[in-house]
Symmetry: D2
Subunit: 336 residues, 4 copies
C-alpha cells in the first residue's frame, strides 16, 4: 500500500523501514528535514510539508501519525486542511483513548476516518515486529490490514497456544482489531499498565537481593533506628547479573523484560549509570483512572506508578509533613 | 510506690516527674550522670550504677526500663545480677513483643517477673498523661496499678463513650491490662502501625493540595512526559496552614495528629526546615510482619511504611533497575 | 438571612434546623412532600416546586442545594428558569470540583453566581456544627458569611493552636474561603481522601488485633498453605472495645473517628451486623485522579479506596485470573 | 549419580523421571506406597522406609527432599538417624531460608551436609527442565553438579544474552550456586515474590479490560454510589482470549506467564470454573519480611500478596469496621 508517515523518531522511522521491506511505499514527513533525509536515503519518498505529503499520496490517503501524545491534536489540525473525505488518519502513538473518541467524532464531520493503533515493541520493532492493538471502523481497519500484517511480528515469534489451531483471526499474527474507536489505545494503555507492574516486580525483587548483605553493616542503636534482630540472616552478596541470567531458563518468571534486565545487569550490575529518576509517559496514569472509573482495584499497577512518581522527588512535600508531625508529637529529629 | 527508672531520655525523665507529682518515690538511673542530676534536682533519688539502684529500692523491686529497643537485652543482662526473686522488670520502651515473650521466659528462671508496657503520648505525656497498653501476669500487673494510674491521662481527657457508663475496667482511665506477656507491646505495635497510616493519610492529602497549582507550570512535550490534559483544573494556591486549622473543627478528620499538623504548618507552610527523610522505629515493621503471619491484608499500613523507606533513598537500586529496563526496551533516557 | 434549601435528606434537613436556630429564615424544598412537611413543622417555610421556592425567596436569591452529586446538574437545569441575574446557587453536596468549574461558567452566562461548599460533619452536624470548605467569587462568598458562620462549629470545638492568636481569618471558626470556584469541593475531596486513609488505618490495625489468636487454630500442612512458624506468638484474644476506648486518652491516634469506632465496638465487638461491603461515594476516586494528574504519589489513599472496591467483590475476575495461572503453571487447585 | 528422593508429589516424581532419563539412579520414597509404586514402574528403586532408603543408597548418601515446607523438619528428624557423617540432605522444596540456616547448623553437629535448592518450573519441569537456585558449601554443591545439570533446562531454552559469550559459569545452563546455605531458597523466595507481582499485574490489567463495558450498565443515583461521569468511554467488550494471544508476539509484556494466561483464557474467557480464592504458599510472605528487614520498599510485591489474602476473605473484619464507622459518622447503610 501507499502510506504517509508523520513523525520519524525512534518508532516512526523504523516502522517506515519495516513497511518498505514488506513492499509498501511510504511518504515520510517530520519537522526535522534530517530525519526525512535519512529515510529518503533508505528508499522512502520525502515530504517537506503536509501539503506536499498530501499531494504525493494516492487517494483515499492513509496518513499514520507517530508523534508525542501531547502534539497529536495540533498535528491533526495542521494536517486536516490538506486531506479529503474518505482519507484516513491513523494515530499510532500513545494517545489517550478518550482523545481518540473525541477526535473520531470531530474528523467524521470532515468525512475523514480515524483509526487508533497501540503499538508495542519499542526500539526492537524493526527486527522483532510491532504488536498492534487496533480500534476503529471495521471496514477501514480491514482496508489497512496489509499495513498491519507487514508491521506485525511473525506468527513463529511465539509457540502455538495449545488448543488454538481451529481459531481464525489475526491475534496470533501480531495485530488485532480490538473494537470501536479508542479500543486500540485502551488495550495498549492497559498493556503499558501491566508493563509498569511487571517492571516494578522485577525491580523490587532485585532490590531485595541487592540489600541481602545488610547484616554486615554496622548498626546504630538509637530511638530513630530499628534494630535488625537477625543480622546473621542477611549475609548474602548476590551476583544479580548471574541470577537474572539463571531465571531466563525454566523459571516461572521468564519474560522479554527479564531478558533485557539480564543484559543490562551483565553490562553493569551496579547500574551506576542511572540516577533512578523514572519517567512515566501517560498510559500508566490513564490505566489507573480507567480502573477507578470501573471500580476495579489495581493496587499493583498503582503502586508501580507511584514508585515512579516518588523516584522523581514528587513525594517530598508529603515526606516533610511526616517529619514535621514526628517532630511535633515525639520530638524526633530527622537523621542525616 | 517506690520505683526505679532506667533511661532518662525524652520519655523516661518526664515519666519520673509525673510519678513524683503523683506522690510516688523514684530512683533514677541513666548512663549519663547529667540526666540523673537533672532529675535529682527535681526530687528523685539518683543511682550511679545498677548495684546502687538495686540497693536503694524497696523489695520486691520494681525497675522500669525506658531505653531504646536495641539495648533492652543488654540492659537486662547487666541489671539482673542485682535483682532478687519476685522483683519485677517493666519494659516501657518500644520492644518487639516477640522479645517480651522470650525475656519473660528467661527471667522466670531467675524468679523475676516481666511486664511489658506500650506507652503512647510522646513528649506531651508529662502534661497529657501516658496511654499505657500492658501485658503480663495478672497479679503483677494489679500490683503495679498505682503506677499506671498516675502515669495515665485523666478520664476527662475524652468525652464519655455513649453507652459505656455501666462498664467497669480501666480503659477509660488510660491504661489497660491487654493480656499475657507481650500483649502490651503487641497493642502498642499496632497502635503505631495505625499511627503510620494516619500520618501518611494526612501527608498525602496535603501533598495533593500543595500541588494543586500545577496547571500553572509550563508543560514539556516529549515522549518522556505525560501531558496534563486539563491545566485549568489545577490553578489553586491553597493555604495549608488555614485549611488544617479549618479541619480541626467539625470535620470528620479531626484528631490530635491534625492539631499538631496545623501547628507545624502555622509555623512554616513550606516546611522547608525538613528534608523529608522519615525514620521508622520498628513498630511499623513489626505490625506488617504480624499481619503477614496472620494473613490479614494491610495495604494502607504497609504503604505508609514503604513511603518512609523510600523517603530515605531505599528504593534507589530498584529505581535504577527501572531506568535500565526503559533504556533497554524503549531507548528512553532519564530526564534530569 | 433568607435562604432556600433544596434536598432535605440526612444533611440538608439538619442544616435548615441549625440555620433556623441561628435566626435565619429558610424555604425548604424536596421531591418528598413528607420531608418538606417535617421541616415546616420545625418552623421552615415549605415550597412545593422550584417556582414556588423562587417566588418565596428574597432577591437576590440564595438557593443551597444538598442533593446527590449525580443529580446536581439536573436539579440546576430545573431550577435555573426560576432564578434571576445576581441570584446565587450554592452546591453543598459532594460534587466533583471539575463540575463546579464547568457549572460556574455555564451559570455565569445567565448572570447567576455559583458557590461550592464542601461540608463535613455528617449526621452529627446539627449539634457539632458543619465544617465548611468554600470556593467561589470573593464578594459572593463574603455576602453569604452569616450563613456559613451559623452552620459552622464553635471556635471552642477545638483548643486554640499555639501561636495562632494573632491570625485573622475564619479557619478557626469552622469555615474558610479556600479559593476560586471549585476550591471548596477540591479541599473537601482531599478531606475525604484523607478520611478514607484514616479509616483504613484503624480498620487494618483492628484486623490485626482481631486475628492475634491465630496461633490457636489448627494448622494444615499442604503445599497450598503457608505454615505459621511461630504459633506461640499469636495467642492473644484482644478486647477491641476496651482497646479502642483506651486509645481515646493520651495516645497519638486519638481522633473523632476513633471515638466513633470505640462506640461501635462497645455495641458489638464482632460487628456481626455488617457484611463488610463498603461503599465509596466519589471523593476518594477523584482524590486519586487529582493526585495522578499532579504526579503526587498517594499509595495510602489509593490502597484505602481499592480495599473498598475489593470489599464489594470488584476484584473477583482478577482473582480468577490468578487462580487460573496457578493451575496453569503449578497444577494448584483452589482451596475451599 | 545415585540419589534418594523423598516426596513424590507433583514436583518430586517428575524430577526423579528427568534424572533417570539423564542416566542417574534413584531410590524413591513417599508416605504413599502408590506414589512409590508408580515410580518403580518407571524404573526407580522404591523404598518402604527411611531405613530402607538409607540402606539402598551409595555412601556418602545424597537424599533430596521434595516435601511441603511445613513437614521438612519432621522429615529430617525421622531421616537423620539413618544417615551417616558426610551424607548430604538436599531440601528442594519451598523452605524458608532462615530454616535452612538453622538446619545446616543442626545437621553439621551430626556431620551431615545440607544444601538448599529453590526449584522453579512447576508441573512443566519434566519437559522444560527445572531452574535451580542453590545454596550451601561450595564443595558439596560442586559434588552434586551432575544432578543439577540433568534437572536443568537446556541452554537453548533462551536466546544467548548479547555480550555474555565470554562468561564462564552455570547460570545460562539453568542452575547456579548462589551463595552459602540459605542462598538458594533466598533467591527462590524473591523469585516467587516477583512471580506474585507479575501475576497480579496481568490479573489487574485483565480486570480493567473485562469491565470496560461498565458504561452500558444502568446507574444508580444515591449518596452511596459514585456517578460514572463518562459512560460513553466504557463501551468496550474485549475478547480477552484474543488480546492475551496478541500480546504474546512483539509486545513488551511477553512472558511464560502470559503464555499460560492466553491458554487458560482460550479455554474459558470467563474463568467461571474458578472462585477466585487464591492461595499463597509462603515465599511471598517471606519476601516481604526480608524486604522489611532490609528497609527496601516493595509496594508492588506486597500489594500482590495482600490481594491474595483479601481474595480469601481475610479482610472481612477490617471491612466491617469500615462499615461500622460509616454508619457512625454518616448514617450510611451498607448496600446489598
Amino acid at each position: 500500500m501507499h502510506i504517509g508517515m508523520v513523525g520519524l523518531g525512534r518508532m516512526g522511522a523504523n516502522m517506515v523501514r519495516r513497511l518498505m521491506r514488506g513492499g509498501h511505499q511510504a511518504v515520510a514527513f517530520d519537522r526535522s528535514p534530517d530525519a526525512v533525509a535519512a529515510l529518503v536515503k533508505d528508499g522512502a519518498d520525502g515530504a517537506i510539508s503536509f501539503a506536499d505529503l498530501a499531494r504525493q499520496l494516492d487517494t483515499p490517503r492513509v496518513v499514520w501519525l507517530m508523534v508525542p501524545a501531547g502534539v497529536v491534536d495540533a498535528t491533526i489540525a495542521d494536517l486536516l486542511p490538506h486531506l479529503s473525505p474518505n482519507d484516513t488518519i491513523v494515530d499510532g502513538g500513545n494517545s489517550y483513548y478518550v482523545d481518540d473518541i473525541r477526535r473520531a467524532k470531530e474528523l467524521a464531520a470532515a468525512g475523514v476516518h480515524y483509526v487508533d493503533v497501540g503499538v508495542s515493541g519499542g526500539v526492537f520493532g524493526l527486527e522483532r515486529g510491532y504488536c498492534q492493538m487496533i480500534g476503529g471502523e471495521s471496514d477501514i481497519v480491514a482496508h489497512l490490514e496489509p499495513i498491519f500484517a507487514t508491521l506485525a511480528p511473525p506468527t513463529e515469534a511465539a509457540a502455538p497456544t495449545p488448543g488454538r489451531a481451529h481459531r481464525v483471526g489475526t491475534a496470533d499474527r501480531g495485530y488485532l482489531h480490538c473494537g470501536n474507536v479508542g479500543a486500540g489505545h485502551f488495550v495498549k494503555m492497559v498493556h503499558n499498565g501491566i508493563e509498569y507492574g511487571m517492571m516494578a516486580a522485577y525491580a523490587e525483587g532485585l532490590g531485595i537481593l541487592r540489600h541481602a548483605n545488610i547484616g554486615r553493616a554496622d548498626q546504630e542503636h538509637d530511638a530513630e533506628t530499628t534494630p535488625l534482630g537477625n543480622p546473621q540472616h542477611y549475609q548474602y552478596d548476590f551476583a544479580l547479573d548471574e541470577i537474572t541470567e539463571l531465571w531466563r531458563r525454566g523459571s516461572v518468571i521468564t519474560s522479554w523484560l527479564l531478558d533485557l534486565t539480564a543484559e543490562a545487569l551483565l553490562q553493569s550490575p551496579d547500574l551506576s549509570a542511572y540516577a533512578g529518576r523514572v519517567s512515566d509517559s501517560g498510559e500508566g496514569r490513564w490505566t489507573i483512572k480507567a480502573a477507578i472509573d470501573e471500580a476495579v482495584p489495581v493496587p499493583v499497577l498503582t503502586a508501580a506508578l507511584f514508585s515512579r512518581f516518588a523516584s522523581r522527588g514528587e513525594a517530598d512535600y508529603s515526606n516533610r509533613v511526616l517529619s514535621a508531625m514526628r517532630a511535633g508529637f515525639g520530638g524526633h529529629s530527622e537523621k542525616k
